[in-house]
Amino acid sequence: MEAATHMLRTGRRGPLFEYQMAFRDLRASIGRADLAWSLAWHDVSSRYRGSILGPFWITLSMGLMVVGIGVVYANLFGIALKDFLPLVALGIVFFGSISGTVTEGCETFVQAAGMLSQTSLPMFTFVWRTVFRNVINLAHHLVIVVGVLIYYGYWRHSNVPVAALGLVFLVLNASWISMLVAIASARFRDIPQVVISVMQFAMFVTPVFWPANRLGAHHFVLDFNPFYHLLEAVRAPLMGGTVAPHTYLFLASMALVGWLLTFSLFANTRRRIVHYL
């Protein structure tokens, strides 16, 4: 409890100091990760309070969407349901997780205005709250993933450790984007609308519910789509495929550059964020 019993707040002392303070905030939030976790659980459980299925409503509604889109598009594209439904199921679940983390990121600091303006809780705590909440949601959705993989027999070829690695990259990248939009949304109230539009656009240009090979000669454009890499790193190994090495290169550099960028922005705006709200 060292951090809780000594507090030092000072004016700006040069850029290096700002980075140190930002890092201290990050460290404090990790020390109190259980608080972020409790808040996230509270969010999930309070959303479904009083309902019979509880958080499994998330699973059910997503399951319906998967079946609906899966059946309709399989017919439209003329692909066997066996090949198509798992693709769509995994696509929707994992893209939904990215999209949820990012769009809910817009609310991260805005919703925490009350706590931020009268406690010394680390700001990162609220970033983790959003991320953890989406991880919890994803855990519920995994029921669909497992069900589909077993039903269509893909589980025999599933490479779970590689998919888990992909999931780590997914969370790592989704969280910096989430934090970036959290800061931006606190300052500019137009940002949430922009983010929602961009994520909607991304959903359609990313092979979430269409097979990537349909692009044929234009397949290369997907290499510039970060969401494609995020999705492939998790989905391909689960469906018995392999992940191209350049996808990992892309995701690792994206995480590195993204976090550096976001952390610098945080270091420079940290003092101001509470006044934006």
């Binding site: 707040r9 409790s38 303006s117 406690t119 940002i191 509470v274």
Partner: protein, 249 residues
């Protein structure tokens, strides 16, 4: 290892609020500024209000500081700065000891959650671990006097019942530094007595109390020192017996 004694130290503390108007929050305005070649950089067109300027104060264990001053004189801002929420623009604040800001009792109260859940939530925010909250739960629950209502959503409570819950949850944490914006008086006459006693106990246990209030008699009752704020400028910390002189000045 012995923890250093409880203390608060503010040196040349200056706090400025950038005022981002509703317009300024719009991206369009900012973008427009860039396209017309307006001045980017630190000013950014935001007006700044100096809420506290050049404040110096040293408090030691046993100090009960009353803050007086008109509305907008910077009392609440100072309390929030002491809670660690606001960063100084210049100078520094150093606090040794566990801080309990009792600025807004309704902080973190979720109306759709039950009384128990809210106690847990509030305790966690105040820095208790899940286990610590559970061990105190019975005591807190008993103090609210809400009995079976604690299992019901807080939105079904009357305002007075909500206040009881919020007060019990918020005051369940021992702290070395207690920050209060107005002396808290909630609930009916009977509960006010209880609350009063509990608050006094908390104040006794805490090393330092900082209490902002307009009620001079109240300050005389609970404080031994006083500081007057006027437009963000603070008087020196004075003995409470000189309150009248301070107010006349």
């Amino acid at each position: 290892m012995k923890a250093p004694p409880v203390s608060i130290s503010c040196q040349d503390l200056t706090l400025r609020f950038p005022v981002y108007g509703v317009d300024a929050k719009s991206l369009k305005k900012s973008l427009a500024k860039i396209t017309v070649g307006g001045r980017l950089g630190r000013s950014h067109g935001a007006t700044e209000v100096t809420a506290i300027s050049g404040l110096n104060m040293e408090l030691r264990a046993g100090d009960r500081l009353g803050l007086v001053g008109h509305n907008g004189s910077g009392k609440t801002t100072l309390l929030r700065a002491l809670s660690g929420a606001y960063e100084p623009d210049e100078g520094s604040i150093e606090v040794q000891g566990r801080i309990a800001p009792l600025l807004d009792l309704n902080l973190g109260i979720d109306p759709s959650a039950s009384g128990y859940e809210n106690i847990r939530l509030r305790g966690r925010i105040a820095g208790l671990s899940a286990k610590e909250v559970e061990t105190r739960m019975d005591e807190i629950a008993a103090f609210t006097g809400l009995g079976p209502f604690l299992a019901m959503p807080v939105k079904t409570y009357s305002a007075g019942m909500q206040a009881r819950l919020a007060f019990a949850a918020a005051t369940s944490v021992e702290a070395d530094v207690l920050l209060m914006d107005e002396w808290i008086a909630v609930g009916d006459a009977e509960f006010q007595q209880l609350a009063h006693r509990r608050l006094l106990k908390l104040v006794e246990r805490a090393g330092i109390l900082v209490l902002a209030s307009h009620d001079l008699d109240l300050l005389r009752l609970y404080c031994n020192k006083v500081m007057r704020m006027e437009g963000g400028v603070a008087s020196p910390v004075t003995d409470i017996r000189k309150l009248d002189e301070l107010m006349a000045a």
